[in-house]
């Protein structure tokens, strides 16, 4: 069995302000995770320089730089190229989910999400990632 640190720091990139607020409460206040929320891809990528995220939660449809473009940037970043990235999206049809996974995301969470279980869900994804 592999030994790894537990999940503590999550970066969430989401353009919808209201969803950022509720997710922040769900992950930080309820879930006990050290969470940094950013409103855009460029803002999120900049935050990674000072916030050593262990897992990145990423919205798909965002103005300017969309989720897949952000993922591509993350994969090109030496420090974060192996960091698990989870898409969170309201595009929930099976083919859409498959397409997102094929881009190299580790998991896809659909919107609306379950706020009370969200942190645990990310911890499960984190454990699966280290088991794989």
């Amino acid at each position: 069995m592999s030994h790894h640190e537990s999940l503590e720091r999550v970066l969430y990139i989401e353009d919808e302000e209201d969803i950022r607020i509720v997710a922040d409460i769900a992950l930080k206040t309820i879930g006990g995770l050290d969470t940094r929320c950013c409103a855009s891809g460029p803002e999120g990528l900049a935050a990674l320089e000072t916030f050593p995220a262990q897992l990145i939660l990423l919205d798909v449809m965002m103005p300017g730089m969309d989720g897949p473009s952000v993922l591509s940037e993350i994969r090109n970043n030496e420090q974060y190229q192996n960091t698990p990235v989870v898409f969170i999206t309201a595009k929930v049809q099976a083919d859409e989910v498959d397409q997102l996974l094929s881009l190299g995301a580790n998991a896809v969470i659909s919107k609306p999400f379950e706020p009370m279980d969200m942190a645990q869900k990310l911890r499960d994804i984190w454990e699966d990632f280290h088991r794989a």
């Binding site: 353009d15 919808e16 209201d18 969803i19 607020i21 509720v22 997710a23 409460i25 769900a26 206040t29 309820i30 798909v60 449809m61 965002m62 103005p63 300017g64 969309d66 989720g67 897949p68 999206t89 309201a90 595009k91 929930v92 049809q93 859409e96 919107k111 609306p112 999400f113 379950e114 706020p115 009370m116």
Partner: protein, 382 residues
């Protein structure tokens, strides 16, 4: 000189070729009268050869080619201008039973005993055309289905977005996790309420789109004074302008102008244009509303001082969900349906919704309504 046996053999071979050809072969003289036909031509057009020989070949053509055919030959014989001779082309033929069908026709010219004759080779391409048409129809259906699927997927996404905030807020509040945090609880209540309103707007817009597409939208056209209509539009939307710290200003609008419109629907268009203008205006700027008489009617103008609409986005501005297109990019706010609905409403009034936008001068939207007729309903009272 070939021997008689060889001549007979050659004739037999030529005859066999002509009689077994899939394509029809028809020869005509310089007056357009049919000289010979092969069995395939009989089969294609549905005539016996005796019904064709000596008759004008134009009988195998539908109107208006039938009437024009003699002119073609005459024109060629006098001017040398070729329309079909030596040029294969697709034309229409007419069978004995009246059916008109597509065919490929290749005509060549020859001299027999000093007389100019023409040979037409006819290929019936009905089946091929039919297959092509079926293929086109199938592709059109696939395309329509794909558009429908994309629309449903986008609608689903757009509905889920506010629902995410509403559901998550209510789930958290219900869990009691924030019982001791009235500030955060208040924030979540506000979020749930705000997104419920957003959801309602979206549902209304989707219903409008559905009504427009099924042509079930009701319009009650009445004549109204334009100036007071614009004043109402501004006062009704003032709260929205305040939200974005933008002031709506009524500019020039001649008092005598009236318009024949459904006031509620046209107000919906104005609200959409005014809210868009406010959203994309810098803080503490003004959005100008004005109207003028034009050569063909009246033009309403809504002008902002924003940065303009990105050039690459301009061709798509009236499409559905243009803010949430397949590029996965979305501007903040709005349902992405407003301009599509507005354009449909204006066009129902036989008007036009257009815009002019530049980085330097901002964006101007124009509603052009034109005079309907000289005597009755005017969109402009001179």
């Amino acid at each position: 000189m070939p021997k008689p046996d060889a001549v007979t053999d050659l004739l037999n071979r030529s005859k066999a070729i002509l009689e077994t050809m899939v394509d029809g072969v028809i020869t005509i003289n310089n007056k357009g009268l049919i000289d010979t036909v092969n069995p395939a031509a009989e089969r294609i057009f549905g005539y016996q050869s005796r019904e064709l020989l000596g008759r004008n070949v134009s009988m195998l053509m539908p109107s208006p080619y039938r009437e024009e055919h003699d002119g073609y030959i005459h024109n060629y014989l006098t001017t040398g201008t070729k329309k079909v001779i030596d040029i294969g082309r697709e034309v229409r033929g007419q069978r004995k039973n009246g059916d008109i069908f597509p065919m490929e026709l290749a005509v060549s010219e020859m001299l027999i005993k000093g007389e100019r004759m023409f040979t037409g080779i006819v290929r019936d391409i009905s089946e091929r055309k039919d297959t092509e048409e079926k293929l086109r129809e199938a592709m059109r259906r696939v395309h329509e289905q794909r558009i429908k699927d994309e629309f449903i997927s986008t609608v689903s996404h757009e509905l889920r977005t506010p629902l995410t905030s509403i559901k998550a807020s209510l789930d958290i509040l219900k869990s009691g996790a924030l019982t001791n945090d009235p500030e955060k609880s208040g924030t979540l209540i506000d979020i749930a309420q705000k997104n419920s309103e957003r959801l309602l707007l979206l549902i209304n817009d989707i219903l409008d789109i559905s009504k427009i597409e099924s042509e079930k939208m009701q319009y009650r056209i009445t004549r109204i004074p334009l100036r007071s209509f614009l004043e109402t539009a501004i006062s009704d939307n003032r709260v929205y302008g305040d939200k974005y710290q933008v002031r709506y200003v009524l500019g020039e609008c001649p008092d005598h102008l009236t318009i024949d419109v459904d006031p509620d629907r046209m107000m919906q268009v104005m609200s959409n244009l005014l809210s868009n203008a406010a959203k994309f205006s810098p803080l503490n700027t003004e959005v100008y509303v004005s109207a003028e008489e034009t050569e063909h009617g009246v033009r309403i103008v809504v002008k902002d001082q924003g940065k303009g609409i990105p050039e690459e986005f301009q061709p798509h501005i009236f499409e559905k969900f243009t803010q949430a297109d397949s590029s996965n990019q979305r501007a903040i706010g709005g349902t992405g349906l407003g301009l599509h609905i507005s354009k449909a409403i204006v066009e129902h009034h036989e008007g036009e919704l257009s815009f002019n936008s530049s980085v330097k001068n901002g964006t101007e939207f124009y509603i052009d309504l034109r005079k309907k007729d000289r005597t009755g309903a005017y969109n402009v009272t001179p």
